[in-house]
């Protein structure tokens, strides 16, 4: 790498991008620098986004929560809006990496990296996040599931950046659950993760549920049939047994040094059992 550019304003950014079409964008660098070290990418020039203050922070706008793509994980954790209204995202970020990684890494970077193990992704899928993509000339908004195309593959064209993440809180959930299964309690790449948003009726039936799994397929996986099966069911072992099996049949995990495919498949289903702890004991 021969040089790095550090724009502080968007106009500056667009100019740098135009002048250096081969340059790579760097937010916190916690994914990119690892790749540069292992020489899996060899950019000649980096455009660092870290001083673009316009792309940082969390705010309400027209009934939506807008998160700047350059907001770091640490900032998310300390943000009152995230704490109150996006607690599922907060719990995902809480166990992401380690303090130094959370200090540097950004939400936008986690999305654009598009790893099936990206911890914020499963919550963002079930929060129905929409992504704002901008270039010098244009701006478009896409649902996260159509932006992420495959492992490491996103719908981002030359000259575009991810600028904001928008979350419309159409419904409220009493259960905001995220669980990451990693091989240790910090600095762990997820082996399986599951995010769940759920409402439970007084009689312990599931009235509404949204589920998403990480690390068990090429992208985050959601199964509409599992959600439909669960809605109206009792929150008991018997009530969710067949959903567990269905999840186990539907996921398509791989094996690596962290876990076998069978383990991932098995546990992906079993993680639904954790939801039983939200059943009221009345």
């Amino acid at each position: 790498m021969s040089h790095a550019l550090v724009p502080t304003k968007l106009e500056e950014l667009w100019a740098y991008i135009a002048e250096n079409p081969e340059a790579m964008l760097c937010a916190g660098g916690t994914d990119l620098l690892v790749k540069i070290r292992s020489r899996s990418v060899t950019p000649d020039c980096l455009i660092c986004l870290e001083r673009l203050d316009d792309l940082k922070g969390v705010r309400f706008e027209a009934g939506e929560i807008i998160i700047g793509a350059l907001t770091t994980h640490r900032e998310l954790l300390h943000d009152p809006i995230v704490q109150r209204d996006l607690s599922i995202l907060a719990s995902a970020v809480q166990n992401l990496g380690s303090p130094p990684i959370r200090n540097m890494g950004t939400l936008g970077g986690n999305i654009v990296t598009a790893s099936p193990a990206g911890d914020t992704l499963a919550p963002l899928y079930i929060l129905k996040a929409r992504l704002k993509i901008r270039s010098k000339e244009s701006s478009r908004s896409v649902p996260i599931e159509s932006f992420i195309l495959g492992p490491g593959k996103v719908d981002l064209r030359a000259g575009e950046i991810l600028s904001e993440i928008a979350i419309n809180q159409d419904s409220r959930f009493t259960v905001n659950h995220f669980e990451k299964v990693g091989r240790r309690n910090a600095l762990a790449c997820s082996v399986v993760s599951m995010a769940a948003l759920m409402n439970i009726a007084e009689d312990n039936t599931i009235s509404e549920i949204r589920l998403a799994w990480g690390s068990v397929g090429p992208t985050i996986m959601r199964f509409g049939d599992v959600e439909r099966l669960l809605e109206g069911r009792q929150l008991t072992v018997r009530g969710i047994e067949d959903a567990i099996r269905k999840v186990q049949q539907s996921v398509s995990p791989i094996a690596d040094t962290r876990a076998s495919a069978d383990y991932r498949r098995d546990v992906a289903g079993r993680l639904l059992l954790r939801l039983l702890s939200y059943a009221s004991s009345r």
């Binding site: 091989r183 962290r258 876990a259």
Partner: protein
């Protein structure tokens, strides 16, 4: 540090603590100079092959590249190793593992060095790789060293005790199990590195991160054909070692580089990835245990079979095997049996010294076997251990009579009355929803020193400086464990001098004296004993000087006091500085020698086993307890509490003691649950810390370390070895806790959530 004299048995802050926190302590990585040369290594990249040609024609043309060196540039034997010199400095014609060093590039910049390394092409003829230690014993296995006497066996041996196998028939109960332990990486923060220069008189000066400066010096001289006197090794602060720097890493390569750098200083610093591939690891092992007892729980018979994978080179593999065999029966009286062991060559990564040194592996075997037996007999596992615990005067499993302090009973009794043990049923019943809990223990013995033949000695040196302060020349490396702090305490307390008036000279083959390796739980025992003698001689010499000066007859009337010598009857004082000025520089230096006592028992007629350290004479002991919680959904294991009671002699410094226990326990926790250095067909697949997982602070339980404080009469101020024992306890204690929770004994480590989940689902089926 402190401006008052230190006391033995109380915490003295490490003199290096603040320096390290402030970043002021100088490590070998910190040596730079304008115009220095970078040296880097071309690695073989394949596990087994004939090396036909090294083509560096492109590499040498790259800008900045100064030279490319191969085995042809090595003047000496081109061999290194501690006991068996079977490792080439640079490969001649045979590649034996992926990390073999094939060529060195010298370059002006690190980047051009890396580019040149990539540009070197190796022409090879691949050979079948031997990567399964069991298969390496087969007749049709490829040979790793064609000229080795016993095919792929580096060292093998057997010991029969009592009636041997005949005793099996006399047992009421026998259990059998085969355990497998994995390869473990030391993962010290500071990767292997050094700095070297050849002066115009042909003298080589090497600053490096090592546990063994004096042995390195001989190895370098022999491998490169140099005069020992022309090689100097300096060891500044070391950023961790754990056995991984017990022997040559960069040293010879660096020395060779300096010989071709036209007098410029040379720096070599392995990346983490290179360190992973090239450095030694803990030996993977396969342990078959058959343990038999009488109905009342009296151990009667043990049959152990040990296979260890040493990779392509000895490093210290033979010694590791001998320790494993010696400790295979744990801290118990077992009158009859057989231990049969072998350390085999493969084309896997090199195995070598690692804190625990073979004892870690067999402790996990005997201790899991003990719990299997306890269940079979229907006896409490702690009671079974207490019943058979070794006492002074007993013979250990290999027949060595215990003549030094033997405190395993006290350790076990401490656990027996510990609340974590007495209240375990209550604790287990209170497991949360979808959780299961278990409590397990382990009892450990760990020998220290080099065994009966290799002399375990140290030479201490103390100098009274012109300012009336004291300089301690440390011949043994402190790689972070804190033995140099103990050195300050010893000198400060004997001479009654302020601790911060004691200056340390870190190991340097030209200034400090040969004192053996920083290994084998021996540093403070051996060097400390030498240092006590030196400090006493110094004290006596100074009192004599003062008596002469004050025209008193009896030096006994004097004592050293902070910065002075006092005549006790009159109270008059002479500043040490004044005394120092009246002494010749040779008089101001005291040296003293200590050689550790060794076992006289002839436990085996096999000289080779004895040369490799069988048996030891001095042992530390520990009993450990782990409380684990298992998650029934994922199989995740959480160690909620860990306690250890250890007999490591009298404690010189409680804080250092606790740090050794906690650090060792966490390293053992890594072995139990997380760390697995994987090589598939000889190729490393855990290439860095993203897949090689060590425990983090978030994974470490509360660790309680209780010292028995038993006085060892041969030890410095009653102390004995503490550096390794704590590493051995967690794997068996945790496995036994999982056994307690699930009824399944997991035989393979690391214990993965996957294997626990299988055990848990099996009980729900039963």
């Amino acid at each position: 540090m402190s401006n008052r004299p230190a006391n033995i048995g109380s915490t003295l802050l490490r003199p290096d603590a603040l320096l390290k926190v402030k970043g002021e302590a100088r490590f070998s990585t910190d040596f730079y100079e304008k115009g220095h040369v970078w040296a880097g290594v071309k690695r073989a990249g394949r596990p087994h092959a004939i090396l036909k040609n090294i083509d560096y024609s492109e590499a040498i043309k790259l800008p900045g590249v100064i030279a490319v060196l191969t085995h042809k540039d090595v003047g000496g034997t081109n061999r290194q190793g501690v006991i068996k010199k079977d490792q080439p400095v640079l490969v001649e014609d045979r590649i034996r593992h992926c990390g073999d060093a094939v060529a060195i590039v010298l370059s002006d910049t690190r980047r051009s060095m890396e580019e040149a390394i990539r540009a070197i092409k190796l022409e090879v003829e691949p050979l079948p790789a031997v990567t399964d230690p069991r298969l390496s014993l087969k007749d049709d296995a490829a040979l790793v060293h064609e000229k080795n006497e016993d095919r792929n066996i580096l060292l093998g041996g057997a010991i029969t005790v009592g009636k041997g196998r005949a005793a099996e028939a006399e047992c009421d109960e026998i259990i059998e199990a085969t355990f497998e332990t994995q390869r473990q990486e030391h993962a010290y923060l500071e990767t292997e590195n050094g700095w070297a220069r050849l002066d115009d008189q042909g003298r080589l000066e090497i600053v490096c991160s090592t546990q063994t400066p004096f042995r390195d010096r001989s190895e370098i001289a022999e491998a490169l054909g140099l005069d020992l006197k022309n090689v100097r090794i300096i060891v500044p602060y070391v950023g961790g070692a754990f056995g991984g720097k017990d022997g040559i890493t960069v040293q010879t390569l660096l020395a060779l580089s300096a010989m071709h750098a036209a007098g410029r200083p040379v720096k070599m610093w392995w990346s983490r990835e290179e360190s992973f591939i090239a450095s030694v690891k803990r030996h993977p092992s396969i342990l078959r245990y058959r343990l038999g007892a009488k109905r009342d729980g009296t151990l009667h018979f043990l049959d152990v079979d040990i296979t260890m994978d040493t990779g392509p080179y000895d490093h210290l593999g033979g010694v590791v095997l001998a320790l494993a065999m010696e400790h295979s029966g744990g801290p118990y009286r077992i009158p009859n049996g057989v231990v049969d062991g072998r350390c085999v060559y493969t084309n896997n990564p090199i195995s070598g010294a690692f804190r625990g040194f073979g004892v870690t592996q067999v402790s996990s075997g005997i201790e899991r076997a003990m719990d299997l037996l306890a269940v079979k007999i229907g006896m409490d596992p702690l009671e079974l251990r207490l019943k058979n615990a070794l006492r002074a005067g007993d013979r250990n499993f290999v027949g060595k009579t215990l003549t030094t302090s033997t405190g395993i009973t006290e350790c076990l009794e401490t656990l027996a009355s510990h609340p974590l043990w007495t209240q375990r049923s209550f604790w287990k019943r209170n497991a949360g929803i979808l959780k299961k809990r278990g409590v397990g223990i382990s009892a450990i013995v760990h020998g220290s020193g080099y065994g009966p033949i290799v002399p375990d000695y140290a030479n201490a040196k103390i100098e009274l400086t012109g300012e009336g302060k004291f300089r301690v020349y440390c011949g043994v490396v402190d790689m972070g464990q804190g033995n140099s702090t103990a050195n300050v305490q010893i000198v400060s307390s004997i001479l009654n001098q302020p601790a911060n008036d004691i200056e340390l000279v870190l190991p340097d083959t030209e200034r400090t004296l040969p004192s053996g390796s920083a290994s084998a739980s021996r540093c403070t025992y051996t060097f400390g004993n030498a240092l006590i003698s030196a400090a006493k001689i110094m004290k006596e010499r100074l009192c004599r000087k003062a008596a002469d000066l004050m025209m008193k007859k009896d030096p006994q009337e004097f004592s050293t006091t902070p910065i002075t010598i006092r005549h006790l009857p009159t109270g008059s004082e002479i500043p040490l500085k004044v005394i120092a000025n009246m002494m010749d520089s040779s008089e101001r230096i005291v040296t003293a020698y200590f050689r550790a006592p060794v076992a006289e028992d002839l436990v085996t007629g096999d000289y080779n086993l004895r040369l490799h350290g069988m048996p030891h004479n001095l042992f530390s002991y520990a009993a450990n307890l782990a409380c684990v919680e298992l998650d029934e959904i994922t199989g995740k294991v959480t160690v909620e509490n860990y306690a250890t009671a250890s007999d490591c002699g009298n404690v010189l410094n409680p804080q250092l003691y606790e740090q050794q226990i906690q650090g060792g326990a966490i390293q053992g926790l890594g072995l139990a649950l997380y760390e697995d250095f994987v090589a598939v067909e000889g190729h490393v697949t855990t290439k860095d810390f993203s897949t090689y997982l060590t425990p983090t602070s978030m994974d470490a339980p509360d660790i309680e370390s209780i010292a028995m404080g038993i006085y060892e009469t041969t030890g410095p101020f009653g102390s004995k070895g503490i550096g390794e024992i704590a590493t051995n306890g967690p794997l068996p204690a945790i496995a036994n806790a999982i056994f307690d929770a699930t009824g399944h004994m997991l035989e393979k480590s690391p214990i993965t959530p996957e294997s626990v989940l299988t055990a848990l689902t099996e009980i729900s089926k039963e």
